[in-house]
Amino acid sequence: MDYGTLLQILDSTLRLGTPLLFACLAGLFSERAGIFDIGLEGKMLMAAMCSGAVAFLTGSVWLGLLAGLAGSLVFAGLHGVASITFRGNQLISGVALNFLASGITVLVAQRLFGQGGRTPPLDGAARFNEITLPFAETLRPVPVLGPLYADVISGHALLVYVAILCVPLTWWVLYRTRFGLRLRAVGENPAAVDTAGVSVKGLRFAAVGITGLLCGLAGAYMATALQAGFGREMTAGRGYIALAALIFAKWRPWQALGACMLFGFFQALALRPDVVTAVVQVKIPVPFLDALPYILTVLVLAGFVGKAIPPRAGGEPYVKER
């Protein structure tokens, strides 16, 4: 494999890893606060449809983004009401909302555009277009690093850079702010937070809200940057891959970046089976590359590759007791 091909694959890795990263960080906030969320997929799908539709109708990607955030937040709110207010089963709630999103996005898109549940293609100001970073062309002649900068690091949609910035931001919020301290505490031992006089429900709703926003970014990126418009089931299980990445990262932000980029790399490889075959000299079936993130997650969950210890109070509704 030549250097150019490697750069191409790395470029795809970054593009494909971005929605995973947004969704993974989304899940991180929720699960760190003790609310399991297997509904990342549904929220992404909702955001993708809302942002794609509004971006097309208004011609503004920014209004599209806002709509995407709103759509995702509505679903996050439903999950919050079911699992925090009514202490329902968080897993079942997530499953239900995924189906709801899967159906309702097609219904709405079909009603609006009549194109079989997809939005018409977006272009111009209705999309996040690629940004060329300063000096990308100037530095290109620099050996090795020049093309890396110009082809891999430069030339992505704004949201790609936002996603990367969200990693240190998440780390900072989680470990350096009062909110982060309380958030982590409520996912580990809500009784400690409660006896300290802080509202468990308030914290958990805040976390679920942040999850909604980040899933909104993930979905909006899918519809307005990675692709040019919304298509039915366009998230294609990315919410679950993000969940897998979250477990793989053991619920930590920097590791989440690594896991998402690793899984993005697998997705990029799956697009170039010829390269894989050339490198390993054995024909690797594409489905194997597709399944790799899931296989890795199963191994991590079973403790074969380090032990993943989820937040201790995860999945359990908090009931006050002495």
Partner: protein, 523 residues
Amino acid sequence: MPSGANTSGRQATAAPFAIELKGISKAFGPVQANKDISIAVPRGTIHGIIGENGAGKSTLMSILYGFYRADSGEILINGTPTAIPDSQSAIRAGIGMVFQHFKLVQNFTVLENVILGAEEGAMLARSLAKARRVLSDLSREYELDVDPDALIEDLSVGHQQRVEILKALYRQADILILDEPTGVLTPAEADHLFRILSGLRDQGKTIILITHKLREIMEITDHVSVMRRGTMVGTVKTAETSPEELAELMVGRKVLLEVDKGAPNPGKTVLSVQDLHVRDEHGVERLKGISFDIRAGEILGIAGVAGNGQSELLEALGGIAAATGRIVMNGTDLPLTGATANGQTRREAGIAHVPEDRQHLGLIMDFEAWENVAFGYHNAPEYQKNALLMDNDALRADTAAKMERFDVRPPIPTLPAKSFSGGNQQKIVVAREIERNPDLLLIGQPTRGVDIGAIEFIHKQIVALRDAGKAILLVSVELDEIMSLSDRIAVMFDGKLMGFRDPETTNERELGLLMAGVSEGTP
């Protein structure tokens, strides 16, 4: 001293009492946990509240910390009537609480746990720096040294408790409530805790110590209030009382249930336990080498304060907890670990088990009575129709017969267990276990939460089983029950047996002292 937001109600230094409770009552459904409780705690003293399990101590303190709301009554803090609807209000009123089960975040550092909920501003750095300063002051002042950067999960239980105290002090608590603080401590750790508490008192803090251990009350408190069955029996100056008097107040002169019981007629040894050890899931040794025998036709009563290893003894004998040592039943060694050490093999060896916690172990609350009658005996041949199916009709008929014999009310086999009263639930369990005609019956807290009539009935059944030549191991925290039923009494303390006594010659005072870990009458 740490500085911070001033709190209301603490300027009234003229009031002599830090806390006054007036006529506090609290009921949970039909259970009256607190009945018209009044106490007054002078500032700068250590006030003990003592009573048996279920006397209502913890409920009272939970009301004071805003976890429950009293049905009626008034709380005065420093002479000012104060409403405490939630924990935040309690903290504002200067009350700090150290719970029996710590409320700490295991994978947080000490500092993070201390500032949680009492941070200064949105950024952590300032709060952490301040807490580090305050903690170092506090630790010098009160022998409360803990490494501020250690993770809670790496600390010993004693140190974790210090973190809880530091949390309260950091929030400028003037009143500190400790709920059974020594239950989880070694004697040395407990002594250290008492030095800390004395230091705090000398600095003018008011401390409420909830315990059921007489030794602690005598050692550290200035006053002591005794609770019994939800009521306040009396408050005395510690210097003017004795462990004997307190024990009497605690146990009370309640109706002594006369058990019609002839002299025992012990036969051959049924169960022999040798050097039994049990560790809990955290690796803490709960049973520290126990040895005893029980003979046929004999009731061995195990007395002791709850949490001294009795539960673990029952679980090891019943095949629920893994153990080391030897358990010999009718001359055969029973497996103590591995897949063969389970409730089924124990039952096959002739051991029946009425567990201490019938609602979590002994019954499936959602199952109907007849299904619960099969619980643990679902493999019994008489409950099978053929190789494949259970004979539910036979089971229901058997249940109806058992309900009749044990006077379970209402005698409806298809009613779920949760619909029966505590006494009738217990009768179902006892009927199931006793009617298997076991060689050995393990029975834990047989009458906890059971009404008087049912107590009498269950006691009679136990004696009848003994008279039929069976061996019985009775574990109870009720001294009366131990005294009136047992043919021999062993007292358990801190995972060990303190000694054996003859119920004919011993008395409650002697047993009470043994239960407190004091041997041979020297208080």
